[in-house]
Symmetry: C2
Subunit: 171 residues, 2 copies
DNA sequence: CAGTTTATGTCAGCCTTGTTGACTTTCCAA
DNA sequence: TTGGAAAGTCAACAAGGCTGACATAAACTG
């Protein structure tokens, strides 16, 4: 333990103490425990309606980018089309998602939430936002900036691109 | 969108702009994309050896608290004993984990990593720490403090207790 | 000491969500 | 007009959650 600390900060004085193996392990556990909290509230709502996290993810990104194609959703979610298709099929059957054939390219399906879909989306995202809001508020704006900076650095480059796609640069 | 921004910062000037629905949505997506990066490297190693994330979690917490009991692990991981038992059984069969009958209370099994178990643990945690270290380094110490503060606020109280159990208060 | 509770393990069966592989239909674009 | 991309479908499988029922040993309790 002592050696690890020494090696991590070696040659730079105390400036890199936040990079010791122990701090890194704490960061790892923070991610693990926080992600559980992060998904807990939506999971409860989803379970009531017979859906799972996969449905939540689809609904979230369709809501964020109405009219997105199946292929685009595939690259964001990083699953196989068979997996995604199973989820989308139930959502379309249940009337939560509408898949419109593309006008320019008729092979593509453009995905939209229906009214019912928007109701579910709002329930899920409100639950999740409530927890996030309370965490943000308690931690404060500077902490939030750090939170986002670290998470962004932790993403794979491809995912980071998808993340930044959703960023509003107009401010 | 404009109304949301207004409502979130209402009555407090611009101080609460970081709590707008849009910022919260970005935080939600940051968690989603970052968690994928967070698990990507260990997942690759695990897949090579025929294990999954469930094995990683067990190995991680046994390494963190050698001699921990099955019950304690259950409360940390938040799964059923049947789920955990399936994982522990394969780990014991494969000689990565040793389950010693308790001396004080012979009903309990105390869990330890074997030499082979420690080898796997090191491979997994090194991969994960490398990513975390690079993220921490690029974001800087203040960002890391914020990262941890927000994640801690996002945890369920029970999980937060487990998280803090692992904290080193000696500094 | 008898009865209850606790810790653990196990069997069976179910669900979600991921996977691979093979195949079809549609239809744009060179 | 034909090759290939986009999308959908079927089948089979695995990991890893879950519930419910039951077994065993040990510890605790009255």
């Amino acid at each position: 333990m002592a050696e690890r600390t020494a090696s991590a900060s070696m040659g730079r004085g105390d400036t890199l103490l936040f990079l010791t193996d122990d701090h890194l392990r704490r960061g790892i556990e923070a991610m693990f425990f926080a992600y559980r909290g992060f998904t807990a509230d939506p999971d409860r709502i989803l379970a009531e309606q017979g859906y799972g996290r996969a449905h939540h993810r689809a609904v979230h990104f369709i809501n964020r980018s109405p009219g997105t194609t199946v292929n685009n959703l595939l690259s964001i979610l990083g699953v196989t089309k068979q997996s995604l298709n199973r989820v989308l099929r139930t959502l379309v059957e249940d009337g939560l998602v509408e898949a419109r054939v593309g006008t320019r390219d008729k092979r593509e399906r453009h995905l939209f939430l229906t009214g019912d879909g928007e109701v579910l989306e709002r329930a899920l995202s409100e639950a999740q936002r409530n927890r996030m809001r309370s965490a943000f508020r308690n931690a404060g704006p500077d902490a939030v900036a750090g939170f986002r900076a670290v998470l962004e650095e932790m993403m794979d480059p491809d995912m980071r691109r998808h993340y930044l796609d959703g960023v509003d640069h107009n401010q």
